[in-house]
Symmetry: none
Subunit: 213 residues, 4 copies
DNA sequence: TATGAATGAGTGTTCATTCAT
DNA sequence: TATGAATGAACACTCATTCAT
């Protein structure tokens, strides 16, 4: 937060909050398509339907807008993944659910996912810390399920669940983005099915006939 | 006399070819560290030890240099992966070998891998076609091994090997970059081992005995 | 709010219009002295007392500024010529008046006249259409008087008044510019007198005393 | 072709002279269309079919090439006009002949004529002196005929023949260029006829019957 | 006599940022 | 709370010129 001078937090999104949201949406679309450097503040303001100065009034600058954007978006991803695991789920079910939720989320927020991958390893950017931290959270949700599997004496005792979480995260994002970019007409179920095949060995599911779960 | 010969090829490397190579090397380093937008032509020329005009004389512009760079680099990746599969290898061995080669390559060419992921889904860039095409080649090598597995009646009959190839590609790049970025001190063998665990179900390897770690 | 109003017109001159005018004035002087290619945007901005970016904010680029300039200037020429013919004038008087007005205008706007001649037949320039069109207007005022003369059964029945207008236009501009460039100290009346001599045959005026013919 | 290094002037145009001529021709066309500033040495060399360095080897630089060009071209104009007056011609016939020769010359050397008008009043250019001097020569031929007319007690006793020569020169060039640019399909005779009409008053020709066409 | 790769000062243009309204 | 005219440092790019071959 941080603007807000005299009075306290105002929950109701007045004119200001609406402006910020419009700027967010304009920025995600443009930056994910063109990249941060190639997207101008003019473009963002124009697509949002406001004057250029308004960007500065509301966010202080281009990079602050971008950081806020990443924070906003990636938090939603982490929250979505966390919410995807039913409390009663078995570890295997939990893992499957998380991966499915990831695919669905990316299908609905392609732009954000593209940004996430583009910035994930660019360590010398101002917003790297933000991206990394929340990316870690997202991966943590996956690793959490792997830990539960391991605790149950799952197939691979010595598995490095941290690294494996990163692996599954990369797998999900890559598959989902390739799907949206190259074959957007395919039903999401086919994507899920492929991922289920890929992780069958981990989950301990008999590969071909997924009777249970 | 004096005009270009028929094709762009120029057999004698001579002065010009040497200059181009130096510019390539300077550009990969700088752009992968700083990003395309944040890298200036002046910097590239300076690191290559040539005058700025030489960049334009040889490549025509910044973006053309970048495109040539991507083509050059990503071709090397695809070639490396292709060379990684011994002719006599079983499908399972072949897949394992490809993934290992991918990790090794990325370990040695982080810069390139970062660029690859950053640009992979940025469809409106001038160089998108180049990146996509050669990325497809790289994934094709993986999918090829999966096809061989499938032909042998591997664990998952209905597997979409194209999508699965993309999944494994994303997994390998993500893991390898996370390794280099967050835990560069870990031995490469631990990375291989984790990937082996992840793909055990596919390869049909008895999951339990990962003796080599 | 905030976007452009319907047309490009902007009723309140305000700050912006003042800036544009200053840039115009700076540009005419500099370009007519040095030529378009030899005049830099920096120079124009400096003489106008604004920052370089302001040129781009207001005109979009150097060539657009130049086009606007030509349009502005040449429109003034055409307007001046049109206004020079008193409604009650005879055709002969009208023609004389137009030529006199042309000489006076050029005497006061050498810079513009030089540009006009320099660009008049440079057909592949961005601003050629503009120059040509308004030049045609100016010539049209002359041709109009010639038409009236012809209608009165003037000396030369078969005269191509369009071409003749072009001829007189070229004559006036050439004489006026040679005057300003080579003999600026001569009184304007001597220029008028010479032109009157030259056109005496057309106008049918007793050229002082045209005893014969 | 020979080597032949250390001999004296070679009147016969060897390889070198041919190269120079090709460069001349390329340069007139390009510069007259685009202007001096907008024409690059690369373009000139390419159109001439030689390497860029050859321009420097033969002329020393771009502006030297241009100066040589102007000198070459404008000398030809003056010579042509001088040659156009038969020794036996009356002053009136002589003037008519000069103007006709001017139109014909410009019809065949449009490019040169455009340059002449574009540079005629640009006093701060390196080649201004050249242009002015030879332009003066050309006008001198016209003024010469006017002087003869005046000496015969021609229609306008007090005529300033210097200024009048300039006027006729401008008239001829303007008409001829407008003809080539806007109505190139018209026969040259129509242009001559119009000019004859315009100068009828000077020449003392009975206006109505322009029998000679 | 000619070439063309290389140069680098100079220029047009962009764009994040400021600020008076 | 929002605007948009103005800014100027930074940048991509141009092109006349040089020189080793």
């Amino acid at each position: 937060m941080g603007r807000m001078s005299a009075s306290t937090e105002r929950p109701r999104s007045g004119r200001r909050e609406a402006t910020r949201r419009r700027l967010f949406e304009a920025a995600v679309d443009l930056i994910s398509e063109q990249g941060y450097g190639a997207t101008t503040v003019d473009e963002i303001a124009e697509r949002a339907g406001v004057a250029k100065g308004t960007v500065y009034y509301n966010f202080g600058g281009k990079s602050e807008l971008y950081t806020a954007l990443m924070e906003w978006g990636v938090t939603r991803l982490a929250d979505t993944l966390k919410a995807a695991v039913p409390p009663s789920a078995s570890p295997g079910e939990g893992l499957t659910a998380v991966l499915r939720a990831g695919v669905v989320f990316i299908g609905e927020h392609e732009a954000l996912a593209r940004l996430l991958m583009a910035e994930a390893w660019r360590t010398n950017q101002a917003w790297y810390a933000t991206v990394r931290q929340i990316r870690t959270e997202a991966i943590g949700v996956i690793s959490g399920q792997l830990d539960r599997l391991a605790a149950e004496g799952a197939p691979h005792p010595g598995l490095d669940t941290g690294l494996a979480g990163s692996a599954l995260f990369g797998m999900v994002v890559t598959v989902a983005l390739d799907w949206r970019t190259l074959q957007p007409e395919r039903p999401v179920e086919e994507i899920h099915a492929t991922l289920a095949h890929m992780t069958a060995g981990l989950v301990g599911t008999p590969a071909s006939p997924p009777k249970n779960v």
